[in-house]
């Protein structure tokens, strides 16, 4: 086995690559482009050039993005001084694949193209085999356990939402367990904020759909900093009260602005944008540690963010959405 690369090495490589991230100005130019082709042309002036050259039409942008993401994933694998931590950020792909495979099995549908992601920490083939043959022994324990639990529940009745929520929880359980074991306060803090923001979003979504706490509590992920009793109260309270209650938490601003926009426009678009921005700005603020995982994780998240931005722009351009519709969904850039 190769020796683990050092933090210094990884961070330095990431620092150079950070300069090649898309800048705000380029993103703006893509938004202002006349057509999807034009937007791609802007992209071809960046480090995406070789990938853009491979595309035969702008409609294949998805392929470009997944190739780029795969590249980033391999890069992180290569330079990560602490794979146990960086892998946590790829677990979502494994759990996504588990969701797909389990749902597919319970649907007992035909074997068509499944929407599997190839970026997980465990090869898709292994997951497939584990789910198809009900052989959870080949999975790591934290996955095997939840798969077994789901099997037990789904004998009686298959509830796709339940499959998703159980897997989400199992994933975060594992993530927090690893963060605590490795005593990585950065990752711990990051995931805690992520969980809090996701829970707040679930709260707002449940409120919008007129659902009660029974519905919401299935969606909540433990390990957040806000208590369950807060959510059970908040779902009944008017929005103003909610804003007041989170004012003193770090998410006060995100919630206040997001809810305000929601009350005005009826969508959570702004809230989602703000929450992504919030997480990214946290990572941005700690990325200067030259001897920690922060900058490396930061680069990964910046890249994920960038890919999201490109997707928003390309979907918008292909469907001829007006520029302001695209802009209201545009997240901050990392650099």
């Amino acid at each position: 086995m190769m020796p683990q690369p050092s933090y210094e090495y990884g961070v330095a490589r990431v620092r150079v690559l950070e300069t090649r991230l898309l800048t705000r100005e380029r993103i703006e130019r893509m938004v202002d482009a006349e057509s999807a082709e034009e937007a791609l042309k802007v992209l071809s002036e960046t480090s995406y050039a070789p990938l853009v050259a491979e595309l035969s039409s702008p409609y294949e942008y998805d392929e470009l993005l997944s190739k780029e993401m795969k590249r980033v994933r391999d890069f992180i694998d290569e330079i990560s001084p602490d794979p146990a931590i960086t892998e946590l950020f790829f677990l979502k792909y494994d759990f996504h694949n588990l969701k797909v495979l389990l749902k597919h099995r319970y649907l007992s549908g035909q074997d068509d193209e499944l929407p599997l992601a190839r970026m997980g920490t465990i090869p898709v083939e292994v997951l497939k085999k584990a789910v198809e043959d009900s052989d959870s022994g080949i999975l790591p324990p934290f996955m095997a356990d939840v798969v077994k639990d789901i099997d037990e529940i789904c004998v009686l009745k298959v509830d796709p939402q339940r499959i998703d929520t159980m897997l989400d929880r199992a994933m975060y359980d594992h993530i927090f367990e690893v963060c605590r074991r490795k005593r990585n306060s950065f990752a711990l803090r990051y995931f805690q904020m992520q969980v809090d923001l996701l829970n707040l979003r679930s709260l707002l979504r449940a409120k919008r759909l007129g659902q009660g706490f029974d519905f919401l509590k299935e969606m909540l992920i433990p390990h957040g900093s806000l208590s369950v009793s807060f959510y059970s109260r908040a779902i009944e309270q008017p929005y103003e009260q909610l804003i007041k209650e989170v004012e003193s938490t770090p998410y006060g601003k995100v919630v206040a602005e997001g809810v305000e926009d929601f009350l005005r426009g009826g969508t959570l678009t702004a809230f989602e944008r703000l929450m992504d921005d919030y997480l990214l700005s946290y990572v941005r603020s700690v990325r200067y540690n030259p001897f920690g995982i922060e900058a490396i994780v930061g680069y990964l998240l910046a890249k994920e963010n960038e890919i999201k931005l490109i997707r928003i722009i390309m979907v918008g351009k292909i469907n001829n959405l007006p520029a302001e519709k695209i802009r209201e969904r545009l997240r901050d850039v990392y650099v």
Partner: protein, 215 residues
Amino acid sequence: MAVMRVNPTRMELTRLKNRLQVAVRGHKLLKDKRDEMMRRFIDLIKRNKELRERVEQKLTLAFKDFLMARAVMSSEVLEEAIMFPTRKVEIKPSIGNIMGVTVPVIEYKEVTDRELSPYPYSFAATSAELDGAIAAFSDILPLMVELAQIEKTCQMLADEIEKTRRRVNALEYVVIPQLKETIRYITMKLDENERGNRTRLMKVKDMLEKKDATI
């Protein structure tokens, strides 16, 4: 107007007169049917138009929502989120009847398990933009089924109206005038024959009288 190639006999005349009577009565009935169907059709088409506009408007909005969800989520995650639907509907087609026209009747029934949430995904992994799209689409489905029913009914009714109209026209402009013409022709022919006969008889009578006188 062409005259039918018939033997100008009295029997034929009676037959034709009967036919004319039937045709005239049929014409009136068909005209009434046509008018009534038109009335029903116009009602339906109005409803159809209104429904179609509503569905189209809602679909546009739903697609817009969906597009946004598509933009902020990766395609794999989006597909996963909606690959296992929890809402199930039963659609039972049967046959209805409007003015003797068989039309489809589609019965829409939701058989969703009430215990299952209508959102077959977890909130943590999906974007809020998806909720709107899913809600909008599930609102639209019953409307779309109704629209399908009405639209097909309109189509079949329109077909039937067209057929009836053609029949009415055929009766009005072809069959009835033709029958009338033929009847006139036969009557004339018969009258002519009558007159010829009479002349012949008179001639014979004359000849007989002359013969008597000379004897």
